[in-house]
Amino acid sequence: MKGSEVVMKMLERHGVKVVFGHPGGAIMPIYDALYDSSVKHVLVRHEQGGAHMADAYYRASGKVGVCFATSGPGATNLVTGLATAHMDSSAVVAITGNVVTSLIGTDAFQEADVYGITGPVTKHNFLVKNVADLPRVITEAFHIASTGRPGPVLVDVPKDVQLADYDGPLEAEIDLPGYRPTYVGNARQIERAAEAIKKAERPVMIVGGGGQVAPEEVAAFVEQTGIPVITTLMGIGAFPPGRQESLGMPGMHGTVTANRAITNCDLILGAGLRFDDRVTGKVSRFAPNATVVHIDIDPAEISKLVKAHVPVVGDLRDVLPRLKAQLPRLAIEPWREQLAAWKAKYPERYKADKGLVSQEVIQMLREAAGDCIVSTEVGQHQMFAARLFPTTKPRSFITSGGLGTMGFGLPAAIGAAFARPGERVVCVAGDGSVQMNIQELATLAKHRLPVVIAILNNGMLGMVRQWQELFHAQRYSEVYLADSNPDFAKLAEAYGIEGHNVFDREHAKRVIPEALAKDGPVLLNFFVYEAEKVWPMVPAGAGVDEMIIGDQEPEFADSAPVREEVPA
């Protein structure tokens, strides 16, 4: 057996059904072995697309996503995808070819120091120098990627290792003495957490991406305690958004209620989140009167930005049920009533007094699509989608949170469609972002996946434009796209995908259900109001209590945004 066959056999052993990749010189032996393998291969048109697909495949299914790339440019093209997966704790195994061992370090054709380059953007990486190490390394790669706090792992395999003969066993022992993730929370810490929660009068729970693995545990915990729940961008779907306890998203573009809850609470129960700066705003103004209980599987996240008074290292699936067992229904009715009053006063609202606006398109999509998988690109449309189209199921809102990677949404929609066949995927995109991996329309066309791409086309880099309007004296530097955007409907058609340009409300109402009824991909290009802004907004560097409420204000006028004073 050749090393390349060992690679494919090991993937089969790990239950890999699909690999996203692009061939090239240094990975040709593996592609040759793939030819005889039962593993399905999805040919992407750019390796970054492949990495995002593998990432979304994991996010949507909980099964490790796998991507292939060749040496040099192939592997460097993966880097953005790996960094995206790393920031959002997504289990990906990337396998790259490399030049033959004797040429490594000589600036050979299509050679790059992939091991060195990808180290900082992966959970771990390997350079395999001996074919006998392949079974162990690949086993370890899957183990590291999928256990503890998940993350991407890269395995770099030089071409001569792929071609080397191997007749040893494929079973391999994992040998990782330095890697022992903590799943079981410390009993004393859980007790302390329970004591703190019992004492609280105004507690609030914030669920992050870690909640995607523990939706039942989160629901049961809330059921028992009645604690109000905030879900971060990564936590969308970990708790149903329609529930009374749900306060929506916190932070820079969070809801008024969520941010007020944070400012006024006396206890935060952080569950599987890392208190990212987009969530906290200015840390010194974040929950100034709160005791912080922080549960996370990664000890390095505890007290990184927000000091945890009661840290609990462990898996939510272990910690939450044990914590729940020590808690009664919390006597916090006045607090719940206060939050309900804020929620009633500040519902999601927007002005639809212009032509088509982004928010109403998203709302129409939600009404027509119901329960589905949503992927997003990055920008204003992403925030509108997070607020107006939060999924009710876990693992279903797929977005680049930490790295904020434009170009993520389209390949992510494809990866998610492969992960959950038969389910509808809606990709909410912007006209700027979607062009960053637009070549993947070819992959989409080939596999006829049930993906509706909804481009909210305002002819602008909308989020940058919003910042320029608010913080850069309306100096709109390099954000105008409309004069050189393609005709997206025609572009889709050029790839063999049905495409529609949509200019008005009536047309939108008609075309959305039609598109969602199709079996294959459809691209809808909505021309929307160009100067729309995402409200509320916490300016960068400000506290979440200093949000600009804008359109969310009950009697909002066209005037300058009102700055809300919130008692701290």
Partner: protein
């Protein structure tokens, strides 16, 4: 915000690229590594590295946790605030300009228990071992004679046994 000097002992698997990962973590936080020494330990396949860095305590604690996260890192110990022994080795070449100098230099070296490892007409090379203060004092004493060049290994440190036992007890209790 308390800034202080930290001596970190990191036990790592003897793998290519380990140092790159560790150094990368410090570099990302903008820390200059003041000294670094690496060598194999009593256990085959494991190396022990000793870092000296100066930084904000909270950030160093964060970096320590990040180090602990690296797959090839087995243990991380921050010696600051605990009782430890540290040593460093220095080779120092001192200029000899006159017979009187030679006598005086050798006398000082004797006081420091520095060993002569190379003798020439115009220079002497000493091997000095000790903690940082001792090495610095020796350098200061030799400076008037003229230091031709010197090289230091960087600090290595071990926790004192009593302290280590206490730490273990605490870890078990936690």
């Amino acid at each position: 915000m308390t800034v202080s000097r930290h001596v970190l002992s990191v036990t790592v698997r003897d793998q290519p690229g380990v140092l790159l990962r560790i150094a990368g973590l410090f570099a990302r936080r903008g820390y200059n590594i003041e000294s670094l020494s690496v060598a194999q330990t009593e256990r085959p396949g494991l190396s022990r590295t000793t870092f000296v860095v100066t930084g904000e305590d909270a950030t160093v604690e964060q970096v320590t946790k990040q180090l602990q996260k690296l797959i090839d890192v087995l243990t991380v110990v921050d010696h600051s605030g605990s009782d430890y022994v540290s040593r460093e080795l220095m080779l120092i070449k001192v200029a000899v300009r006159s017979p009187d100098d030679r006598v005086e230099i050798r006398q000082i070296a004797q006081d420091f228990r520095a060993r002569i490892v190379d003798v020439a007409r115009q220079a002497l090379v000493f091997e000095v071992t000790g903690d940082e203060r001792k090495l610095q004092a020796f350098i200061n004493q030799m400076r008037p004679f003229g230091i031709v060049e010197l090289v230091r290994t960087g600090m290595v440190a071990l926790e004192r046994t009593e302290q280590e036992e206490k730490e273990r007890g605490r870890a078990k209790a936690a």
